[in-house]
């Protein structure tokens, strides 16, 4: 039987990997994928606690998080495509129109 800490540490390492991606990569789509990684890590923690505490509401919340993640990915990719159409790049260093 795997103890609860193993699942939580796995989720922590997934989250840290996502943070590495957001902080170091310059491509907007890679940043986007790293955000999905972090959402998955949070979901994994939810399901771990739900399973080890015997309470199914945690799984329900994961379902809600997945719905919001789907909406977020649709809108996020639409924004990336609109950015690419206007500036012909998705390098987040060159997208600075809101900076003054």
């Amino acid at each position: 039987m795997i103890p609860i800490e193993f699942y939580l540490v796995l989720s922590a390492f997934m989250f840290i990997t996502g943070v590495v991606g957001v902080l170091t990569r310059k491509n907007a789509i890679i940043v986007f994928m790293s955000i999905e990684l972090m959402l998955n890590a949070a979901n994994l923690s939810f399901v771990t606690f739900s399973s080890f505490l015997g309470n199914n509401i945690g799984q329900l919340f994961v379902f809600f998080v997945m719905t919001v993640a789907a909406a977020e990915s649709a809108v996020g990719l639409a924004i990336i495509i609109a950015l690419f159409r206007n500036k012909l790049t998705i390098n987040i260093d060159e997208i600075n129109v809101l900076k003054w």
């Binding site: 890679i30 399973s51 379902f63 809108v75």
Partner: protein, 163 residues
Amino acid sequence: MNLADFLFYVFAVITLVSAFFVVTFKNIIYSAFSLLLTFLGVAGIYVLLGADFIAIVQVIVYVGGILILILFGVMLTNKIQNVPIKTEASFIIPASITIGAFGGILVSTFINTRWKSMPAELANSTLTDVGHLLMNEYILIFELLGILLLVALVGAASIARKQ
């Protein structure tokens, strides 16, 4: 070591290695396909945790929906002829300091806390319970999520269309 423990290690290694490749590959297409492996590994771990409904939803929504959207995004935003689809990393040193501090705190909290946990009996399918909760106590949130998805659909189409 029984089979479930062995499968946990297999899925954990798949998840962590492919998550590492997602953020390190220079080619975005390879990153997207590593993300596929990550999502599948997480789905396997959900199965080991007894969350069958969430595992299926993970495969359908993430692998079937979000990953396809990401692949469309990659193909629509890279001029295959002119610009190579390779990208560089930067800010390695400040990022590693931040991540070291944050990750150390997170992992030590997870390890050192004494978590309360039930004696694990291998659960039946959670599908019935989740369905009852979704249709009784959380029906309002369920409906609101439907509206959220509709708004996101209209908003995405309106943002991405040609002016």
